[in-house]
């Protein structure tokens, strides 16, 4: 299958006052119809610049971008808008307008100068609203929608452009967790059902690794790593890109860990979901999780009645994790005092 979007030795960056500053270079990526790509990288590495260049909103500093085989610099603005649609981080403030009117704006590149919609245009708008599951929002005022609902409408607007490629720059940046999951799940379904090539930039590592078909990872040196999430986890490039001096990304459970372990080891035993939660409590309080109780300063056992802990200062038990955290903090106080003496 031919690629919807393909770059050839693309270099992106800023150009101002005649000087140009290249942020990323030698980018060779492609997206197929129906594929969901997540672009990952730390803030400021050039994700937005790359997205804007792919969308034709920023000129490439080198190389080329092709949509369905056609170089975007040779396309008219209208042709480009019929092939590529974008959703941006920025909140739109359109004033008073029902949501479906905003989706209708997506027909912009397809209708004549008068902007009047044909029956076919209206059918496409309706289809776009249904595609993002926003039937219940269509008649509502944009102002009254939550951020997540509004972003959903913005995706419908982008779909109404009937693009081959949908580019989303941090579309979920200011959304709460559940809205974020919903948006990405919707995008994944849209990619499959509508055969659209979807690229979204995100700094939500966990969600991207779960949902994406392909990850484009920009590491600290500005190199692009491409592969399935599992490939990039397995070869360590994700851990390398996101670990810092004080935090480590653990590929196994896909979470960040604080690296300092000043107090020593702790052991958690028992069964159930509570074991991993007790571990995160201990890690947060500055302990390294040991594989055996031997040499552990704090030992916690989890059973159906709650937690039971043994430490230097004494024993404790309880039902809430807040109590466990308090117990552990008392322990760390004792340990710190012993260390001083």
């Amino acid at each position: 299958m031919s690629a919807s979007l393909q770059t050839h030795d693309l270099a992106v960056g800023y150009r101002s006052h005649g000087k140009s500053r290249t942020v990323l270079r030698n980018i060779n990526v492609q997206v197929s119809p129906g594929e969901l790509v997540c672009l990952l990288g730390v803030n400021g590495i050039g994700k937005s610049t790359l997205m804007r260049t792919l969308a034709g909103m920023e000129p490439a500093l080198g190389g080329s971008v092709a949509i369905n085989g056609a170089d975007i610099t040779r396309m008219s603005q209208y042709d480009l808008a019929r092939s590529v649609a974008v959703v941006l981080t920025e909140r739109v403030a359109v004033g008073s307008m029902p949501a479906f009117k905003l989706v209708e704006l997506g027909r912009y590149p397809h209708v004549g100068w008068s902007g009047l919609l044909s029956d076919e245009d209206r059918a496409i708008v309706r289809d776009a609203v249904i595609a993002v599951g926003a039937e219940h929002l269509a008649h509502r005022e944009i102002n009254e929608l939550s951020d997540g609902e509004r972003q959903r409408i913005m995706i419908a607007r982008a779909l109404a452009q009937r693009p081959a490629v949908l580019l989303l720059d941090e579309p979920a940046a200011f959304l709460d967790v559940s809205a974020r999951v919903e948006i990405v799940a919707t995008l994944r379904r849209l990619a499959r059902e509508r055969n659209v090539a979807v690229v979204l930039s995100s700094h939500d590592l966990d969600l991207s690794l779960r949902m994406a078909d392909t990850i484009w990872l920009i590491d600290g040196a500005g190199r692009m790593h491409i592969g399935a999430p599992e490939d990039l986890l397995a070869d360590g490039s994700i851990s390398a890109a996101f670990s810092g001096p004080n935090i480590a990304f653990s590929a196994g459970d896909r979470t960040f860990k604080i690296r300092e372990h000043p107090y020593g080891k702790a052991f958690v035993g028992g069964t159930g979901e509570g074991v991993s939660m007790a571990r995160t409590v201990l890690e947060r309080e500055g302990f390294e999780i040991a594989h055996s109780p031997e040499g552990a300063l704090v030992v916690v056992a989890i059973d159906a009645s709650g937690w039971h802990a043994r430490g230097r200062a004494g024993n404790g038990s309880g039902t809430r994790f807040a109590e466990l955290a308090r117990f552990v903090r008392e322990e760390t106080g004792v340990i710190a005092m012993e260390a001083q003496q």
Binding site: L88, G95, M97, W113, I130, L145, T319
Partner: protein, 379 residues
């Protein structure tokens, strides 16, 4: 009793909520229900405009009965009849001027509000009118004629276009830096203060220019500064009408891109709009509209900022397809009403038009500021 907070994972398991399957999504019906309201508002505005227009011709220092007005307009009254003269050479051009000026200033305000994404933008507040005054003052001084001469009838068509051109350029002189600032600083109040200060600076310059004028010239300059629709005769209308109409036509033709700009320049560009060209055309049109009105009627304030908000509030919509025609109708109506109010018999004689429009417009501006926490533009 479980120790594990059961709701903890809910947020993550919360799968996307799709609209309930039985939801009836009838977009044409939704559009039709909006259209009903919009048609009603436009029809009402048109009706009131006609009533106000007739009132503006009948009412004045001498009341003329409707019969005589109809007689004068249909040519039944003889030339030389005092009613005929009053209706045809004073009140009719004055009413037409009020309509054109009101529509022009209001549409210029609407264009600037959308272009700058600033609910308080308008030609007067942002100093465009001051810039236009500067253009007028410069032309009048450079041509060697007296300051007040352009108000007298001896101007001629060429002089008229020269003054309109100078006023438009003067308006652009202020609008270009204000727009540049508004692109760089997204904060509407900063832009507003910048516009106000530019306006003050330009006004101060104009004051210096006219300071040397003779007392009678100064008096006329000040009278011009009060704003008036009365100084425009049929001769001046030959310039004012086509220029204002051209600006209004530009606004009507750019309804589609204005709507795209509601989403901001980035989105507008991504949908295929040439934002740079659009910005240039809109700036030129807004300056021309504000410039031509300022040249002939003086610097008239607050219509530009107030009328688009009145239109939005009545229509409950920011869709330019209805907002532009409603702004034209309501702008003309408001200007006619202001004109009628300024003629109210008081012991001050004819009230300065600027005072009347300020009394109408200032409360609207205050209302917009008070409400802008929740947002006229902001969500």
């Amino acid at each position: 009793m479980s120790i594990w907070p059961s709701g903890f994972l809910m947020a993550f398991n919360h799968q996307e909520q799709r609209g309930s399957g039985n939801y009836d999504l009838d977009i044409p019906a939704m559009a039709a229900s909006m259209r009903t309201r919009h048609t009603l508002v436009l029809a009402l505005a048109l009706f009131l405009l006609l009533v106000a227009f007739v009132a503006a011709i009948c009412l004045g220092s001498t009341a003329i009965p409707l019969q005589s007005v109809i007689g004068a307009l249909s040519g039944q009254l003889a030339n030389g009849n005092p009613d005929f003269d009053i209706v045809l050479s004073i009140r009719l051009p004055r009413a037409i001027t009020a309509c054109l000026a009101g529509a022009a200033l209001s549409v210029a305000g609407l264009q600037m509000q959308t272009l700058m994404r600033n609910p308080l933008a308008d030609p007067f507040v942002l100093g465009i009118t001051s810039g236009a005054s500067l253009g007028v003052a410069l032309v009048v001084l450079a041509s060697g004629s007296t300051i007040g001469a352009f108000l007298s009838s001896g101007m001629g068509l060429g002089g008229g276009f020269a003054i309109v051109g100078a006023a438009t350029l003067g308006g652009l002189l202020v609008l270009v830096p204000v727009l540049a600032i508004s692109v760089r600083l997204q904060n509407p109040s900063t832009v507003l203060i910048f516009g106000l200060m530019t306006g003050y600076a330009v006004s101060a310059f104009v004051t210096l220019l006219v300071a040397g004028a003779r007392p009678d010239q100064l008096e006329r300059w000040i009278a011009w500064g009060f704003g008036s629709f009365s100084a425009v005769t049929w001769t001046e209308l030959q310039v004012l009408a086509p220029v204002a109409m051209l600006g209004l036509v530009v606004a009507c033709v750019s309804i589609k891109p204005l709507n795209a700009l509601l989403l901001g320049e980035n989105y507008a560009r991504s949908m295929g709009l040439n934002t740079r060209a659009m910005r240039l055309v809109t700036m030129a049109a807004a300056s021309m509209l504000a410039g031509v009105v300022t040249a002939f009627c003086g610097p008239i304030g607050f219509l530009g900022v107030a009328v688009p908000h009145m239109a939005r509030a009545m229509l409950k919509s920011s869709d330019h397809r209805v907002l532009v025609p409603a702004t034209i109708l309501l702008g003309a109506l408001t200007a006619l009403l202001a004109q009628l109010v300024s003629l109210l018999p008081t012991n001050l004689g004819v009230l300065p038009l600027n005072a009347v429009t300020a009394l109408i417009g200032a409360p609207v501006v205050v209302f917009v500021i008070l409400r802008s926490r929740n947002g006229v533009f902001a969500g």
